[in-house]
């Protein structure tokens, strides 16, 4: 399984153009957009957005594995993977773990930046934040893998990915507090924003670094529920997809 994880991490850092674009976008949002909006709103938007950018960067980085799995499924690469001296379960679990690690590795420098801007947490809080980020990374990888194998066509996959990205990023508390969203979207979308794992992780990091909103057990339950569901669904669908590739 370690070999699968190592392979996926090495591949991830080969996407240097994707990563460069992603880093530019995240830094521009935080260091330019947030700085200007701080002069326009009634609270320190820069401090508010820093944790949101960590969650958003993690989400985008963890989602990259979906594109790889989609390519592999379409191009018959799964047959090669099955020929390796690995158990199928090791392959599936290895990829999910690697997906989470990719997100965590990408977002960790952003978290360090957020801590420098806001405040350094206690070691317990740091462990809890990293755990939340890893859970989100694994859940997002599971979601990406589920989409990748369910929608084999590349066009459908990229369309679904973009729709999901729009829905999860804009219908969340990454860029604005839930109170602002409540004023403009219908109730079902407010519920989605509350349950949205990006909101959960953004708010958990905010809770640990700036104290508001307060960290609650419910926030953790919601994150665990999302991650648990998509880790199992993603793993199950991926196992079925690679099994089908030899029939």
């Amino acid at each position: 399984m370690a070999a699968v994880i190592e392979h996926d991490l090495r591949v991830f850092f080969k996407y240097r153009f994707t990563l460069a674009g992603l880093i530019s976008m995240n830094l521009a949002d935080l260091l330019i957009m947030a700085v200007v909006f701080t002069n326009m709103v009634s609270f320190n938007y820069f401090r508010f957005l820093a944790p949101g950018i960590v969650a958003m960067g993690l989400f985008a980085a963890a989602f990259v594995i979906g594109r790889e799995v989609n390519n592999e499924t379409r191009r018959g690469y799964n047959q090669y993977l099955l020929s390796l001296p690995l158990r199928r379960s090791e392959l599936v679990v290895g990829r999910m773990v690697a997906g989470g690690l990719r997100g965590l590795l990408y977002a960790s420098p952003l978290l360090v930046l957020a801590m420098m801007i806001l405040q350094f947490p206690t070691s317990t809080q740091l462990v809890l934040m990293l755990s939340a980020m890893y859970l989100l990374g694994m859940g997002v990888s599971g979601l990406a893998i589920s989409l990748a194998v369910a929608l084999r066509s590349f066009e459908r996959f990229t369309t679904a990915r973009s729709l999901l990205y729009l829905m999860l990023v804009f219908c969340s508390t990454v860029f604005y507090p839930l109170t602002a969203l409540k004023q403009i979207v219908p109730a079902p979308l407010v519920v989605l924003a509350q349950w949205n794992p990006l909101s959960r992780v953004s708010d958990l990091i905010r809770g640990y670094l700036i104290g508001t909103p307060a960290v609650t057990a419910q926030g953790w339950y919601e994150l665990l529920t999302f991650s648990g569901v998509f880790i199992f669904v993603g793993a199950g669908l991926y196992a079925i997809a690679i099994g089908r590739s030899v029939r």
């Binding site: 976008m25 700085v35 200007v36 326009m40 066009e155 369309t159 729709l163 219908c171 004023q183 403009i184």
Partner: protein, 237 residues
């Protein structure tokens, strides 16, 4: 199908940006009354920029598919080829955004034909210049990967270092200075001025027109020069 899905996604992206992000963030803004309209107009110009920039990507696709040689064999001068592509890039961006622009103008009640024409000319001039910039960079960089990374970084910083999303009046010193050298600032402000937005938050329209003319002339002429130098004899591969 591929083109349709891209088009629909981009429209959807514009609608979500204006209809969700714009509304939510305008609830937080306390320094100006009609920030929502300011933001929506900026998103329209910003999207024109993103669509026009795709002209450069097509140049790489054509080189990959061997289509560049065919274009060079046509009875056209290189200048006609580059200018034709820039004009087409502008028109294409314009057609793509037409339903959004029309919907927005109806929504805010702009019916004065002079104002509508001025707004459309500002948008088209900008898209024409961006297509020229995209062609210049595509043939100048010669590598699809380098182009990709430059465009990714440009997209992130050009938009944020401009008045597309927020007025210069609220930018801290260094950001305000950089945004004054950004053509997107002048395109967005000229578009807003044409639609009768409060001039307090906008650049001088005469300056904006001059900057946009310099921008489109510079990058289209540079595009012609670099295209001629880099494409002849199959050197660009």
């Amino acid at each position: 199908m591929h083109q349709y899905s891209i088009l629909i996604m981009r429209w959807f992206f514009v609608v979500v940006q204006i209809g969700v992000f714009g509304l939510a963030i305008s609830r937080l803004v306390v320094v100006m009354d009609n920030y929502y309209y300011y933001y929506a107009m900026g998103v329209i110009v910003m999207t024109m920029y993103s669509v026009a920039i795709f002209t450069g990507y097509e140049i790489y696709d054509e080189a990959d598919e061997g289509y560049t040689e065919y274009l060079l064999a046509l009875p056209l001068t290189r200048r006609e080829l580059v200018l034709g592509r820039s004009l087409a890039g502008g028109i294409r961006s314009f057609i793509f955004m037409a339903p959004v622009i029309a919907g927005f103008m109806i929504l805010i009640g702009i019916v004065n034909p002079l104002r509508v024409a001025a707004a459309l000319i500002a948008l088209y001039g900008f898209a024409f210049g961006v297509s020229g910039l995209s062609i210049t960079l595509a043939v100048g960089l010669r590598s699809g990967d380098s182009f990709d990374i430059v465009m990714g970084a440009l997209d992130a910083f050009i938009v944020r270092l401009s008045s597309a999303l927020y007025p210069i009046a609220f930018m801290p010193g260094p950001i305000a200075t950089l945004s004054k050298f950004n053509p997107l600032t002048y395109a967005a402000d000229l578009f807003r001025w044409s639609l009768d937005f409060n001039v307090q938050y906008l650049s001088n329209p005469v300056t904006a027109v001059v900057v946009l003319i310099i921008f489109l002339a510079t990058f289209n002429f540079a595009g012609v020069a670099i295209y001629e130098r880099n494409l002849e004899g199959g050197a660009w591969k």
